[in-house]
Structures are given as C-alpha cells and as structure tokens.
Amino acid sequence: MLLEVNQLHMRFGGVVALHDVTFDVKWGSITALIGPNGAGKTTAFNCITGFYKAQQGRLRLHPPNRPTVDLVQILGQPFSGSDLLHPGRLWTALGYKMFGGPHLVCRAGIARTFQNVRLFKEMTVLENLLVAQHAALDRHFFSGLFNTATFRDHEATALNRANDLLDFFELSKEANRLAGHLSHGHQRRVEIARAMCTGPILLCLDEPAAGLNPMETQALSGWIRRLQKEMNLTILLIEHDIGLVMELSDHIVVLNHGEVIARGTPAAIQQNSGVVEAYLG
C-alpha cells in the first residue's frame, strides 16, 4: 500500500465536499477515482496534494525504502494543547506551520496535474521541465552566478532528462516553443512530462483526457500504461472517459456527493447497481 486515505472530511462553509472518504492506493497500481460532476474528486486530489487542508482525516504516504510521511502534518496543523508538553513536537509543528505546504507533498513524492492545464505559458516547454527539476539542480547562488563546472553539469543532466521525457511523449519538436502556444493535447502532455520531472512515486492525473480527441485519448492511455510499467510509477487518475478508466485501472473508487459509494475492480464496478444508478447510467 502506497497511499492511505482514511476518513477524510472536507467542508466548504455549508457544502460538504468530502464525507468519510476512505481508500487505498496500492504500490504500482493504476487507481481511478470516478464519479459525477461535483462529486468531490478534485477536492480529494487537492487534499492529497496539500492544496486544501482537510478538516479531519488521515493521509499517509508509505514510500518503499523510506519512512512514512504524514501528509496532513507537513501542511502545518493548528497547535494542540498536548504539543506544549512535548517541546520536540512543538518545534516540528512550528517548522511545518512556517515552511510547510504543498511543496513538501511534492518533495515527498507526489506529483500532480490539474483539471484545467496549468503550464508556465510564457516559458518554453524545456524551461517548464527545467523548473520542475529545480531540486536536482545546483542551487548555490555563486556557482550559478559564476557558471561553475558543477553548475553546468547539473544543468546538462537536467536538460538531458527533460529531453528524454520529451522524446517519451513525442514532443521533441516542441522543445523550444512557448508552452502557451501549443495545442491543447500537447499542453496536457507537457504537463504530465513536467510532473514526471519532479521524480515522483505517485502521479495524480486530474482528467488527463478531457478535451482530447479519441486518437489522442488512445495514445494517452498507452503512455499512462508505459509510465506504470517502465518507470515503476503508481498512478491515481480522475477521469470521466469510462472506456479509458475500464481499460487502464486495476482498482476503481467511486465518489458521489462526497461519499465513497463503491470500491473494487473494473469488472465489479460495472456490475455494481449503486454505481450504475448514480453515475454509469
């Protein structure tokens, strides 16, 4: 088990967006999150990736060969009374409160894309990918200023990796074009490539096939498969294209009105009367 989502609650004022959401993502699997519009899928994503702070619930990442990460704690939580008795705990809590946030979730190994593509539009495709690799670069101010050998080495490695990913997604021709000038399909691919640049364990894709034509969707499905197989990636996917979901996923979680109404294999979900009634129709 890689990601553990336990009894997640999220309210926006009076709107209950997530209620008691519990599911797991197995290591190396493709897990799909489906449900009608407004079911709370994107909200669940935002909680997992740290953009929203859930009111209740536990989120844990269990990366192989590394210690477990508490995805709620690293966002910075309000102090509790018991913290005062444990100075060590208070200190960590204070640290996360000041410097915590979604960027720590990313560094823990979760990368994501957005439902409405969020590229750096006025930068080139390669620059987009380089920005994402900032953690792997030589960030010392003076080595960058004087363009030292180490600095150039790191830049070259990052450029190589970016070019590899562009090759993978068949985007090499677009490398030096402004990201905002690409077609929608290409932009979606660049966004996935950019997320891959952070070196994630878990890749969260929010409706990657939205706005793609059937051919592009087919190609995308191939790439997602290859990401899982060749790069040992675990993938969490939100998608309305049921064909794609059934073809790709090992495990499906169905949300409706913020509640999990079913979990299981694609075959089981297709047979589930509740799901058919609420969503598949």
Partner: protein, 410 residues
Amino acid sequence: MRRLLLHPLVTAILVLILTAPIAGLVLDGYTFNLHWQPPLGLALTALILHLVINLVRAWRSAQGGAWSVTHGPIPVPSHPALLRTFRILLLLSCLVLPFLLNKYWLTVAILALIYVLLALGLNIVVGLAGMLDLGFVAFYAVGAYGYALGHEYLGLGFWSALPLGAFLAAGFGVVLGFPVLRMHGDYLAIVTLGFGEIIRLVLNNWTEFTGGPNGVRVAFPSLPGLEFSRKAKEGNIAFHEWLGIDYSANHRIMFMYLILFLVVLLIMFLVTRLKKMPLGRSWEALREDEIACRSLGINHVTVKLSAFAMGAMIGGIGGVFFAASQGFVNPTSFTFFESALILAIVVLGGLGSIPGVIIAAIVLTVLPELLRDFSDYRILVFGLAMVGMMIWRPRGLVRARRPVFQGRQG
C-alpha cells in the same frame, strides 16, 4: 478608404467642439472674446495625428498582418559576431562618454544610470516574479537615507555605505515581503503603495533623526587617500594634484559616473545570470502560475522573498548612488511619482527584458531633459506614449527573449 478620411474628420470636429469653450473663450474684463486659433490648431493636430495613424495601419495591413505573433519555435539571434562587436562598441562609447560631456549632461547621464539600476531592480519584482510593486521608491529611499544617516551618525564613507545600504534595503524588502506573501495583483499593489508612503512619511516626520523636510547632507565619494576637492584635507592628496592636471569640478562627477557604470554592468551581469539560474527560473514560473509552482515542490515563500530582497537590494544601491551624486537627500525625492516612473520604465521597456528596460530607463530620463522647453507637456507626452505602447506593443519595446536550448532532434 472612407474610414481612412472620415474618422479623422469626425475626431477633428469633436476636438473642436470640446476644446472651443476651454481653449477658445478668453475672459476680457466682463465680456468673453472667442479666439478661434487655439481650438482650430488643436483640431488640426488631432486630424493629422489620426490620419497618420490610419495610414500606418493601412500600410501595415497591406503588408499582411506583420503584427501577428509568430507561433513557431523561438528564433535564435542570427548574427552573434555582429552583436558582440556592437556590444563592445557600446561599452567603449559609454566609457568615453564622461570625457565628452559638460557638467550638466554628466549629471543627466548619472541620473539615467541610476534609473537603469532602479529599473533593473523593479524588473526582478514585477517583470520576472510578476508581483506588482507600486512602492519601489521605498527601497530607493532606504538606500539613500542609509548612506546619508550612516554618514551623519556613524561617519560611514561611500564604500562602506554601498554594501550596507544594499543589505539594509534587502532587509526592508523581506520585511515588506512577509505580510504580502498571500496577496496578488491589486491587493499587493495597494499594500506596496502604502509601504512606499509610510517610508516617505516616516522620513518626513521623524525630524530629530532624519532632519525631516530639511534633509541630510551627504559626503561625496572618494578613493582612499584621494579627494576630489580643490584643496585636500590633512594627509590626503587632491585628485588633480595626484594626476598633475588642472582642477575641475567635473572630475568628481566623472569618477562617480565611472563607478556607477561599473556597478550597472555588474548588476546587468547578475540579472542576466539570474535568468539562467534555478532561482530566476522559479521567479518566472511564479509569475506564470503560483499554484503550479507549488505543485512542483517550489517553496513560494522563499522564492517570493528572494525576489523582493534582490529587487530591493538593487534599488538600495541605486539610492546610495543617488545620495552620493546629489550630496543631499530629502523626502521630496521619494514620492509616489518616482515609483510610477520606474514602473512605467519597466512596463514600457518590456517586462522581464533587460535591454528593453535599460533603453526605456535612458529614454525616459534623457528625453525630458532634451524637451525642457516643453516641460509643461511632459506628463501628457508620457501618457500618450503609454497609451500608444499599450496599443501597438503591449509587451514593451523589447520583448523578453526566451533561452533556446539545443534539442537532440531538430
């Protein structure tokens, strides 16, 4: 064709109707006199202007939409050798310049260079990091007063004040940065505007410490052991005696110009390198999309603060030079108008573009000096230039260039 002639005519008539009562009616004792000349002149000017605009437009569209943006790969500069020669020539002419100018134009040149510094600093905050800062003059003031007060109370010289003013301003940048971390766009603009005014008001009203509106005197820069005065103080040598030439008040200003030019070169180098470093790239990414940045593991807090600090630092250096070149500072040099001017330079030059910003800074400081006779219309011309730029070159004079990397296939 009809639009070409008709619209300018309509414009002219409108101008005539609007300006006739304002510019044409002259009070003469208890009666009015209608003078037709001024409104007619204005109307004619409008007619000609509009006609010219229409002609240019027609010519442009006949050329087949030359304004459209290219969507292909970004072009690589075609003549690198030519560009290099041009740069070297430019550098040499800038170095020779002070020996050819008289005192008045030397001070103008120094002012222009100071504005280049300020614009480069604000360019980091607004152009690269995308945070609209309307109070940049605050850091300029911190630098200038840092030197002035440091000299007054601690006896600091120019050379120690330079790094100190820079650090002080950077510190103020961080102080401003913290509360505005969560703000964007208009809200950020208003808070920074307030910050700029607060600094000015404090300088104006804290009379015991800053001298209030009376300002503070500042020492002129010198080299260790050398002075730029007619008679050197005990133990020092006067510059002209050292070189064995006649005394001239210009030496001090030339010296100032040369140091300032050197510092501008250094800062240009710094900013150019920054654009190629992970930090600079993070700034630009932050300008494009903050949420995406955070999803990629970039800590927006440090990135924003570093942009504020770096921009403020450069502004502070500009301030130290300003104080040193004037020999005197008081709060009237640090009004909102200065902030607006620097922002206008950055926007007109092209957000994020280093050459564009430099050209705009020089043009906007030298042009008003050339047009002294028309100083009443300075703001008007300024506004017109702004409007024109927004229509025809919304990205500024020089569009920021993107780095091109060698791809592996094509």
